[in-house]
């Protein structure tokens, strides 16, 4: 197993490098560069930059170099100094910008993920145990409603309903009056209230998917021979469900946790914009739009690494949870 993990980890290095090249290449692919979009932004505010001023900016940012030269300089900085580069728009090191938004991003991502699993797994189990019951249909339909409504629209509708019903659209992650205060129970409560809509919006899409997978898995597992064997031994139904069906059904789901975190990180960008969440998503979208390439590149590279690590974690989890795969790996390694 250890050799397997080691081998896979070593394999990650070229994969990540390839990804970083592609990521960087794609980011600079759209026509125009940071300076051209920056100039357009300034124009909207009534500022004009002369051609000479623009060229000076390009030189300062190194945008006059070909993209591969920029890439090499960037990756060299990362490898030798751990320097993720410089954000043009923020005039700050990328790391500083990323740090600023990391906490809230993690809160939202983790809350959504917890929501997804906490909601989906019991519902999936319920829907399987009570297959074709009213509850099954209700949960399935509600889940699908969440999935079928594009996130951005769902978010805006929920915000408006929140405004109509509670007089507060629940924008952002906390009420402004708490922003400057220290942590208090009231602030936590306020934050939790603000988390409801984002978590529901971001969560429902994957929740529905997960409910369906869970239900299917449970249905498969519950009719397995060994479940009947256990029942014939006199094992309690609840024990049986938990020890055999649920455990087996959870396997593929647990093993995809590595993947879903990335998905929740990147998939919620548009939602975060609509809901005014101070998370990385909108910052990155802005960075992409404005071709603030090191910021965008660092973030996308980070996501790529997360994906690769996620896959590895998934594979390890799978092996850890399933002795058969574990042995196969052992044999191969």
């Amino acid at each position: 197993m250890l050799t397997y993990i080691l081998r896979r980890t070593l394999m990650m290095i070229p994969v990540v490098l390839v990804i970083s090249v592609i990521v960087f290449w794609i980011i600079q692919l759209p026509p125009g560069d940071y300076v051209s979009s920056h100039v357009m932004e300034l124009q909207k505010e009534g500022e004009q930059l002369s051609a000479a001023e623009q060229d000076a900016l390009r030189e300062r940012y190194g945008l006059d170099q070909p993209w591969y030269a920029q890439y090499l300089a960037w990756i060299w900085g990362i490898l030798t100094r751990g320097d993720l580069g410089y954000s043009f728009a923020y005039s700050q090191p990328v790391l500083a910008v990323v740090e600023r938004y990391m906490a809230t991003t993690l809160i939202v991502a983790v809350a959504s993920m917890v929501f997804t699993y906490v909601v989906a797994i019991p519902i999936g189990v319920y829907s399987a145990v009570k297959q074709y019951s009213v509850g099954d249909y209700v949960f399935t339909t509600v889940g699908f409603l969440g999935m079928a409504t594009p996130n951005f629209l769902l978010a805006i509708i929920l915000m408006y309903l929140s405004y109509i019903w509670f007089g507060n659209p629940m924008l952002g992650l906390q009420s402004p009056e708490y922003a400057a205060q220290g942590w208090s129970p009231a602030r936590v409560l306020d934050m939790l209230r603000h988390l409801v809509i984002p978590v529901v919006v971001i969560g429902t899409a994957s929740t529905c998917e997960l409910i369906r997978v869970m239900r299917g898995q449970m249905l498969d597992e519950m009719t397995k021979q060994h479940v009947l064997t256990a029942r014939a031994k006199g094992v309690k139904e609840s024990t049986n469900l938990r020890k055999y069906s649920l455990r087996a059904a959870l396997n593929p789901i647990v093993s995809t946790i590595g993947w879903s975190l990335t998905a929740i990180f990147t998939g919620s960008t548009i939602t975060a914009i609509v809901l005014n969440l101070p998370t990385q998503g909108p910052v990155m979208l802005d960075a992409l739009m404005a071709q603030d390439m090191y910021l965008a590149g660092a973030w996308l590279g980070f996501m790529a690494i997360l994906t690769v690590i996620g896959t590895l974690i998934s594979d390890i989890l799978l092996a850890w949870l399933d002795p058969r795969i574990r042995d196969e790996r052992r044999a191969r390694a």
Binding site: P30, P31, G32, D33, Y34, S36, S37, H38, V39, M40, E41, Q43, E45, G46, Q48, L49, S50, A51, A52, E53, A56, L57, R60, Y86, A89, Y90, S91, Q92, P93, A96, R100, Y101, T104, I156, M159, Y160, Y163, G167, N168, P169, L171, G172, L173, Q174, P176, E177, A179, A180, A272, I273, V274, N276, P278, P282, V283, D286, M289, A290, Q291
Partner: protein
Amino acid sequence: MAIPSRTRTPVEFRRRTALGALGGMGLLAVAGCANSSEGTAAEEVEAINQVEEIDSSEALTESPMLARRVEAGELPPITERMPELEDIMVEPVLEQIGVHGGTWNFPTRASQEGPWEIGKPTEEALFRFTPEGDGVEPNVAKGFDVNDDLTEYTIHLRKGMKWSDGHPFTSADVMMWWDSIMRPEVFGRSVYDAFWSTDPATGERAMAEFSAVDDHTVQIAFQHPRPMFLERVAIDAKWMFAPAHWMKEVLDEFIGEEAALAIAEERGYEDLEGWYESACYYYWFWPDRPMLRAWTPTAEPGPEQVTWERNPYYWKSDPEGNQLPYIDELSLETYQDPSHVELQVLDGHFDIGQFEFSSFTLLQENAEKGDYRVVQWETADWYSHGIQFNLEPADQTLRGLFHDERFREALSVAVDREALSEQLTLGLGAPQQSSIAEGRPFHQEGWAEKWASYDVDRANTLLDDLGLARSGDWRIRPDGEPLRLTLTQESEAPQAGQFEELLKHHLEEIGIQIDVQLVDGGRFGELNDSGQLQLTTRGAIGGIHPIFRPDTVVPLRAGTPWHNQYGTWYASEGASGVEPTGDVMELITVYRDMSAQTDPAQIDSYAEQIIQFHQKNLWALGYTGPVPRLFSVSNNLANVPTETTFADEFRDLGHGRPAQFTFVDPEAETA
């Protein structure tokens, strides 16, 4: 007003400026303004600008918030904080004397690209535009003198005025800005137009020279006459001073490059350019950077909320001696999408929101529930929906067409303006040509109606005359190619896609095939720079006065799609771009002549010529008249002007003098 006799008062000053002469033309229809053509300009201006004076230091009153700090010994008393009595700037009362206190919830864009959102309303320049927009008046400066040939400007500063950290504000601060910041161009901008004078004979430009006469007097000398210097300062230079004591601790000139870089890195910058752009240009985000603004930040911008607190050393008061601003705090809250501002205005959270016109119905219907009112400010654009022709497209056949008046007329009359008005402007944008509205300076009779009636037959006849024969649905160009135009718009623009779709619909009716192209800002800029645009609906042309900001109407530099190649040519002095011909070249010539004039009346007459060239040629077509800019204003907030002009030259919301905005009941206003 006790201003030394050799100094011209603002009244005198106004008489000497170009716009002073415009007063008689009925510049702006400002409510409450003694707007009559009979009275002299001087009387009128004096009536508008009732400059009062604080009688005694007894009258000075401060916010309870500051009074507490004074009591605690954290602050010197108000008399020591404000300028000498006669040098305190007194803001006239707009609606009522205000009450100190309250928090103004202020939406700001989350993106770092939006520094101006808070920058403009809090900006304090040496000179600022009058509420009516017909000229400038002293602001940070107390007054000025100028010699008769407009080559020497003497600017007087306010005695006893202090930076937000309590350090005196003197002519050294102006000299610091000029010598160590503007002239070395440390913040990435070239020395502004304002500081150049042009040799009327050769057209050569010469830079101004600054000198400090004494602690409160600065002299700026030009080689050639420099008319409109103060207006240009109000627009371009915005602030012409920097805290010398603070700058000496950060500029490499004073502390050496190594130490300066260390500071830059400490502040999160990798190079001096980035740091200096931030410290000298977008400086208002640094809590420790002394300023002259009414409010200063308490923290650097973060992901969520930042509070700006009142400047205890602010140098303005109301006529009763209440130190401004009335409002104690600004709570800057980030938003990512305009819908957030909408929602939080509806729920009564944001005290002032700025909106595109399309939000009008939503705002009005919920005004009572949200306890706000909707205020409309005019804009200086010539139209709200229109197109610009890139006069130098790569395709020479198209170039020929774009330069042909008949072609432009055809594209103008082929569109049903009445329909567009309903579909795009809630029926408010008048179905008319791109033009200057009645009541504004340089309004021309008949311009709004030119080529403005919907007449498909006429359009077809014009195109037929041009030899663009129809073959099936589409017209064929003389070279046998189908007539096919690309219409480009920036995808972020409000209503992007809708107007373009309607235009496509109307123009395809007359046989011109249209491809709509929505692109992001960077791509648009690139298309524009490389001359690949054909038609575009982005932006509008216009402006307060060609002399203030000629960018969109005279090709002086790149940017505006219709003349981009010409502007490039002019700005690069012929190195790149395309040399204009005909009327476009005339525009440049007229503008140059105008710039050399010292007589305001002459300036106006040249400006009028520029305007008339536009009326004649219509390089940009307008389909619906301008629509106002909307503000939602909390009903608890008073002294917000209701009818004025929204223009960048006037610093947008800043033109409403936010320092004298006041809550009727500050207690009700917390973040």
